[in-house]
Symmetry: C3
Subunit: 274 residues, 3 copies
């Protein structure tokens, strides 16, 4: 079924509206294009409603949050909700400042999200509604492994149920749940944490997948997470083989995404259902 | 003659002032540098007049338009006009929102542009002054081919005459016209549409070419369009040969631009004059 | 000793708060990650104090300066000063506009900087407090060589003493001084000037090094400058060998940084103490 999710992206070529940070926006656009979808970035309050209306999905990412664009996020979210377009939230570094936490809680209150994706520190911070001391990267204590996986599945399910949304916690093991069912993905490679924006890129990619598969949010999100992990794995393998580094890793990640087909995805995916 | 246009860029090394979007700005800066010119990005109303005064040309790109920078665009445009510096407009996604359309029409009224460059959907939207339903990428129905080329030449000429400016419509076949004469360029490759910002990069590159050749806007714009198409073609060839993808395509595009010389340009250009 | 500076970066993995321009921000984040540190970009007045409090150092870069973020720079700088975090200023294109010069002088008055890094044109402009006619790239007349090196050492020392800060002038020969002692670095390659943001990346990297070595600002800044020069040199060598261009140069620069170890640094560094 996940192969169908991928196929729908390049066949339907959804337009994905992103209100995102200026650090990783270029990579987000390029990975959305690599998947076969079409990105449009627009954040001015004067146009976000117009823009989101011609799109198939909306990605809200709070990295480099600023007061000018918070209202744009709310307005775009509400317009998307009215139109029934799937919306995803990426609460980048939500534990790092009061502004990010308050904005995230306000977004969760005023906009209905179809997916929330973050690393373990971010998702934990939202569940606990507290300011942590970590930055935008996951805290060492929050790295998901086989020993603590059950705890994080519970965290994900709890946030999922509280907000009636799919939740994806990504890390060494990825968890995707709709509150009942959970998928675990064991693709990816730790070197992906050494390039900026792999999380943002994944959220953009989920935007493409849910835009093309609006009736299947859990499975399309899972397919996006698996695609990203697999492409990161393949890219890392190539980098190691050639003795290169993280600059090339970023390039190859997008290369593999642009060439990803159903067969490669289904052959490489390491998925478990719980 | 087009080889002379290219040579002037790296010999005169013009400074190009860009007020552009935050999605593709890094690639725009890198391709301007690759051509031998020097970019400077500045968009605050408090400095755009100062900045544009020390530059040789100005690029205005309305991707990620915001109300803060619209006034900066107008002011920089007027200062450039007073100084006689060539100015180019890239109306990214002009049909996607009322804000983009109104801003574009206001810019056309208050600033004299030397070049307008867009894809077929964008140029058509301006000519018809209407909101379309496409995003920042060209609509499928608007892809220029041998059958509809005459229609698009007319569209380009009509916008050119109405605004006394060179118009470049870029796509599978590129059209560059001053309202009378038209050049068609058949370089490039469709894979270029799979990386974000090839249009923005080209507009930045035109900024470099017209900055170095202010007395020859039609031919220098044509040379920039041909350079971009040819480098995209060469980059695509290398990507296919090596079995890579769109991440590498972007890298090689800039590689080829940084190595482009007169001989390669004149040997690879597929140009027709009408 | 410089090898210890490098080792501390990947062992301590400091968090580096950057308020920087949107042109090169992605490369800045990636080179900080490549060094083993962790970047966080945040520029809204509502969160900069929170953010900088959880970081180990602060980078202020005035490229694409805008009135919204000037106050954020001041506030973040003051908070960092209170906490004793090292702060670095990158006065990008300070001579290019009145706004940049006035902001730089205000920053120097209100914030205590531990390091100021710029090209020769920028540092000269600050010392003379005047508007020049160059853009963000160094003026031809300001390129440091063996003949004028003594003059630029004096310029660097004078700015260093006036502001009680380490000053780094980077170019063909780099000068790093605390007003008394000066290190000269002869690594790097002129092709680095053909990719945007090598200066910004270096300032980000210095942020990582001084964040990991707050008690040793002069030597850690020198180690960062040498690392950048050496990686640029190695990247350029590889590009020439493979017949590539500036797109690949940028990728390889980050590749080499992500693989840089103490042995490579100490084996490749060309340093002189004055």
């Amino acid at each position: 079924m996940l192969d169908k999710m991928l196929k729908n992206v390049y066949e339907k070529s959804p337009i994905v509206h992103c209100i995102t940070n200026y650090v990783t926006v270029n990579d987000v656009a390029n990975i959305i294009l690599a998947s076969g979808a079409s990105p449009i970035m627009a954040d001015d309050i004067g146009e976000v409603s117009d823009i989101t209306s011609i799109c198939n999905s909306l990605v809200i990412n709070i990295g480099t949050l600023n007061t000018r664009t918070i209202e744009s996020m709310i307005e775009a979210g509400k317009t998307s909700n009215k139109l029934g377009h799937p919306v995803i939230l990426d609460p980048v570094g939500v534990g790092a400042s009061k502004l990010r936490m308050e904005t995230t809680l306000r977004l969760l209150q005023e906009v209905k999200f179809f997916v929330i994706r973050g690393n373990a520190s971010e998702i934990k911070a939202i569940v606990n509604e507290n300011k942590t001391t970590s930055g935008v990267d996951v805290s060492l204590e929050d790295i998901i492994d086989e020993d603590n996986i059950d705890k994080y599945i519970d965290v994900a399910k709890s946030l999922s149920k509280a907000n009636d949304t799919v939740v994806a916690i990504t890390g060494p093991i990825d968890i995707i749940t709709n509150g009942e069912k959970a998928y675990l993905i064991r693709n990816g490679h730790e070197s992906m944490g050494k390039i900026t924006g792999t999380g943002c890129m994944l959220s953009g990619l989920i935007g493409a997948y849910i835009g093309a598969n609006p009736d299947n949010i859990l499975e399309s999100t899972t397919a996006a997470v698996a695609s990203m992990g697999l492409c990161g794995e393949l890219a890392n393998h190539k980098v190691v083989e050639k003795g290169l580094g993280t600059g090339s890793l970023r390039t190859y990640l997008i290369d593999f995404m642009s060439n990803l087909d159903e067969e490669t995805l289904m052959g490489g995916i390491k998925i478990e259902s719980r």
